[in-house]
Subunit: 273 residues, 2 copies
């Protein structure tokens, strides 16, 4: 039986969505979380809409089998490609990372020029642009795919001259057109936020969809009277992690991002869902 | 019915194996090739033995359904993790890229110090070392995982200061221990062969398993009397390409590597095999 004390389901292609899970832990620490990272099929960013939709559908079935009360698609590519279709098929709310980020970017820009960085899939879909223009039709949105950022982050080069050099190449054209707002449109990017911020300069506002999504989740659960009201008990295992492959590597990386202690990451065969 | 004029099956996690297909086209141009690139689940290098074995088994079933006479596992990770098990289950010959590369490295080294670069999966498996030591027990084999090389190659940075810088970091420890032979233990690496060669210097021999594997295939087919003896006809489509996702992107990349003209790349759902 799903009720207000049921867990929140969060999924991503791998580890990137942990930046969203971390924000949920910070902003609504009372919530239980079931996280799924699709490490056997990562990355999603360079794959097609059909493939990402099939993968996302399997994951939603897995999370529903664990009786989550709401699902957060903590992956920009999955949010861009699969969310509209999967929302229709599912009887619990599903939140993506794109709408919350788009809304805040539309609100904070002053000159109307907004940049979006993300994977090829997210950028080619133009989905941030479509959402932003619904709210602010006069906005000019420029997307830039940054395919090397994910491997650089996963290699741990968060502060490194190589990451600086690659970031400069990717970001120069956004600087040249004078954007005043930049959306970090991939859940890995908050981890190189300071590199991106240094290159863009202080006059450009960085929008972090991970943060905005956790706020949106809190608002939604509050509105529906679905915020968890159980008192946390000592020894409770509030956060459960599942992956489709290589659990040890996931745990190591997760423990470098999330300081709450990831006790276990269990491997499941997602192709069976 | 499988006979000498049946095609050769070649598979890889994605595009890397095209360097092996290219060598087969050069060395035995009369052979027909069916190539499968698992672009929906790429990369293999960071995934586990169990997952890679399951994926490889599905691909072997797909290629056998197309009646190939021999299969080339043109992927170091699949060769390292899955080949021994899959060979036992299959009634046609399967060649991997590791044994041919290991054999040549053991033959060309003079000081017995051999380096291997590859993905995390290949290096952690120590499989090159095991094969080399069977042939040359006194050899000292040092492996070094280079996880950023694949994304750099796929981003097209084959000749670039960033690739130079990353290559220097990865290769310094191999230079320091005085290897005289270096195996390019990932099928993407022949594309940055000149960068690696420049850093290692002229006294280090580079071994390209793609080249050695095509030689091995030619030898094996010759021994078994299975070399294709049909005359090529104008308009023949000797090379067929299949992928599990994003065929257009595959075609673009493939056409930059292979100059024989890739007419089509068909998408199939590999999870059904």
């Amino acid at each position: 039986m799903i009720n207000k004390n049921s867990p929140v389901g969060v999924f991503d292609s791998g580890i990137g969505g942990l930046t969203v899970a971390r924000e949920i832990m910070r902003q609504i620490p009372n919530e239980k979380i079931i996280y799924f990272g699709d490490t056997a099929r990562v990355p999603y960013g360079s794959k097609s809409r059909e493939t990402i939709t099939r993968y996302s559908r399997q994951i939603v079935r897995f999370l529903q089998a664990r009786e989550v009360k709401v699902i957060v698609a903590a992956c920009n590519t999955a949010s861009a490609f699969a969310l509209d279709e999967i929302e229709k098929e599912t009887d619990i709310p599903i939140i993506g990372v794109i709408k919350p980020g788009a809304r805040v970017a539309a609100a904070v820009t002053e000159n109307g020029r907004i940049g979006v960085i993300g994977t090829e899939g997210t950028i080619d879909s133009s989905i941030y642009s479509r959402y932003i223009k619904k709210i602010k039709p006069e906005a000019a949105v420029t997307g830039k795919a940054c395919p090397l950022f994910v491997p650089l982050v996963e290699e741990g080069l968060w502060e490194d001259p190589v990451t600086d050099e690659i970031a400069k190449r990717y970001l120069t054209e956004l600087l040249d057109i004078g954007i005043d707002t930049l959306i970090l449109g991939c859940t890995h990017y908050p981890l190189i936020r300071s590199t991106v911020g240094r290159i863009m300069g202080e006059s450009v506002s960085l929008v972090n969809p991970a943060y905005e999504t956790a706020r949106e989740l809190k608002r939604l659960l509050g509105e529906k009277g679905m915020l968890n009201d159980e008192a946390a008990r000592l020894g409770d295992n509030r956060y459960r992690f599942y992956v489709s492959d290589a659990a040890d590597k996931f745990k190591r990386f997760a423990n470098s991002i999330i300081k709450y202690g990831i006790l276990s990451a269990e491997i499941i065969n997602i192709e069976e869902y």
